[in-house]
């Protein structure tokens, strides 16, 4: 197989793929509307927000970090962009303001995590509240309307027939996939998540990388905030609430280990799709939104459980197909069994590799 393809698909997410296939098949049977071009594009637009945020979170989480402040960052970036737009009428400045404010929020996360040595969950739980508060302060607690057509176009326009938010999402996924799987930066991100101390002693400036990744995540949340504001036609101070949990769910569905070091962008694309298709399907079928929450959580748990089972089955199959150690070569090809940790160290990973 082409190396790049092998990278994008590994680790194979059998359970998640099956869940997605089952969803698509049953929904197309249940509703003739589901597989129309219009609806597929709708799904794309609907997942753009969580997708952009999940893409950044994928890198943060592969490096062993976590950022739960992104929902608030999206809102803060949105009201920043909208207020700059209303006071200057410059669309370019407004976009820049949203993205830069997001980046600064991410940078601040990175600095308190690396410099003050605060656990990422706790640190971003703190800034989750701080950024939401700042959003209310900037907006005075009310939505800021946007009327400039070029700005609204970011959310509702199309490029070659594809809605702009989806175009932005695809570009973000493509760029991050290349960065993660084909550059030194990507290799170092995996190394930091896999063993931060080893990476540091190998000369990688681990803290700089971490700070950079949180900043990147903030920039992407800022971009998401701008897109959301453009789509809604106003910046809502409560926008993006709970978004961080959807993003983390998508990333975990995609196979990123919570402990770091494992995962791919391709997996996250899959995770985002599952959540998007499910939401869309439940809406088409006019299922009460109260039940949608239960269904979403249920799919997450079932898909990850199926993956775990598949993983264990494959490991057993591989064990059976390998010849006994004694039938194999000389002493320096010794099997790793002596440390007995081939399986022990696997255990803590949520989703395995």
């Amino acid at each position: 197989m082409i190396p790049a393809a092998r990278h994008l698909l590994r680790p194979t997410r059998i359970g998640v793929m099956l869940a997605l296939a089952a969803l698509v098949v049953s929904l197309s049977i249940a509703s003739p509307y589901f597989l129309t071009t219009n609806n597929v594009l709708n799904i794309g637009v609907a997942v753009a927000l969580v997708g952009v945020v999940a893409a950044g979170s994928t890198l943060v989480m592969i490096a062993g970090g976590l950022d739960v402040s992104v929902g608030s960052t999206v809102a803060l970036a949105g009201v920043s962009a909208a207020s700059v737009l209303s006071s200057t009428s410059s669309v370019a400045l407004a976009i820049a303001a949203g993205v830069v404010v997001g980046g600064l929020a991410g940078l601040f996360n990175g600095l308190i995590i690396t410099k003050l040595n605060i656990n990422p969950l706790i640190a971003t739980l703190g800034t989750l509240s701080v950024y939401r508060g700042l959003t209310f302060i900037v907006s005075d607690g009310v939505a800021i309307g946007v009327t400039e057509a070029p700005f609204l176009d970011i959310g509702s326009g199309r490029l070659a027939g594809i809605p702009n938010p989806l175009v932005i999402l695809l570009v973000v996924f493509a760029v991050l996939a290349v960065v993660l799987h084909a550059t030194d930066i990507g290799r170092n991100v995996y190394a930091i998540g896999g063993n931060a101390e080893a990476a540091r002693l190998a000369g990688i400036r681990v803290d700089r990388y971490r700070t950079g990744l949180y900043t990147l995540n903030g920039l992407l949340a800022g971009l998401a905030g701008v897109v959301l504001t453009a789509r809604l036609g106003s910046a809502q101070p409560l926008a993006g609430a709970g978004l961080e949990l959807d993003a983390i769910a998508a990333v975990v569905l995609g196979g990123v280990a919570l402990a770091g070091g494992i995962g791919t962008i391709g997996g996250t694309v899959l995770g985002v799709l599952v959540l998007g298709v499910l939401n869309n399907g439940l809406t088409i079928l006019a299922i009460d939104s109260f039940y949608q929450y239960v269904a979403r959580g249920g799919v997450l748990l079932v898909a990850v459980a199926l993956d775990q089972a598949g993983q264990a089955r494959r490991e057993r199959a591989r064990a059976r197909s390998t010849p006994p150690a004694s039938a194999r070569a000389p002493s320096s090809t010794d099997p790793p069994g002596d440390d007995g940790d081939a399986d022990r160290t696997r255990a803590p990973h949520l989703t395995g590799g």
């Binding site: 064990a319 150690a325 010794d334 099997p335 069994g337 440390d339």
Partner: protein, 513 residues
Amino acid sequence: MADAGSVVAAPAVEFRELSKRFPGVLALDRVSWTLAPGEIHALLGENGAGKSTLLRILAGDHRPDGGELVLPGTGVDVRTPADAHDARVRVIYQEPNLLMDRSVAENVLIGALPARRHLVDRRRLHELAAEQARRLGVDIDVTTRVRRLGPAARQLVEIMKALASDVRVLALDEPTSSLSGRETERLFAILRTLRSDGVGIVYVSHRLEEVREIADRATVMRDGRVVGTVSVASTTDAELIRMMIGRQISTVFATPDTHGDGRGDRGTPRLAVTELRTGSVGPVSLTVRAGEVVGIAGLVGSGRSKLVRALAGAEPLTGGEVRVDGRPVRSRGPSGAIAAGIAVCPEDRRALALVPDRSVRENILLGHRTVRPRLGFLRVRRREVDRVERYLRLLDIRPADPEARVRTLSGGNQQKVVLARWLAREPSVLILDEPTRGIDVGAKSEIYALIRRLTADGLAVLVVSSELVEVIGLADRVYVMRGGRVAGEVPRAEATEESLLTLALGTNQRSRP
């Protein structure tokens, strides 16, 4: 053994045709042997022979895929760690498994904390633990949090914990790897007492001299099978080694006499350390010249490892200077040391050098800026593979697959991956901390030979080791450390175990914690 009713009892443990399969490996292949009560039974074998897997089955941590583990007289079928515990079987692993933020006493008596009206009786707890420490002759404050103890003390806590209740079978995996000579003697005294009390002891070690000192019988394993069980007294080292590796080796060390003669510009100092201080260590001054192998010996706690960490840039210097090829190392942190040309292979490879879930290729190239040529900022995979394959061949890393996950390699091959990473950066100074710890005999001699080859190209090598034989066999000069300082410098000709040990212990043999 038909002598019914006499002291010749049933075996303490009988391993019957045990098999265990891991992904890709048959770790145990119908292993059978018997541990008698009141004997110390050494379990020998190279890395990957299956010793640790066997211990894990004994501890109830792994279930065998085939065969039976029989504990006569207990009526216990070991399926879980709790079963093994009930059968009074204790296994002490190489790496301590302790609650880091609890006190020594709590760790020792965990599971049987003395209680008064359902609350832990702290005074009684400390009394009991202190009594246990006294009984075993361990000098330790039982109220200390485990995190604040060094590796040797943690190992002792692990032993205290195992012996806190009545034991029938005790298994120890390389228990002396972090102990000093005195502590090892203390451990051996404890083991002998247990033996006379009728406890069956399984002793896993790489060190033949220890086995010779303590063990009655030895079972040798290779590639998951039992090669044989022998009486230690009537078997020579050479025979044991032959059983372990399945071939004959004359000596582990490459002939020491071939080095030291007519080597290029020997004499130019490549590493010069002056008055270095870090924490409790220092002042330390030393030099390593081009083409030279310099050893650092010293007991546990003498400051060897801290010195290495300081040279690696992992600990800040509080004074002094490090120069590489005449240029002072100015920038701080590991990346500064690396940029200056210092490469360090740390003692604890898994924790400090490797990313086990990533490929051999990525681990070798870890931290490298670029492999040229490249496409803009994109890596060219083909070039990386070429580069890595060169080192796979040079170091004979097996399997020779750049995409194999490092986790699946044996200890010796993992060490070679770390070496390959540093060699690929063409350093001026290579520092090896315990280069052969946990590595089997065959891979050991390969690594020794490699160190010699490297100095031929003018590399300066600093070898830090707690095994005196290793230091003597490898080094042109040896610095001996004691209490954080250099206690003496010994040229090759005068380096013997006796001379090094005398310096390491000092004239007034006062004990250091």
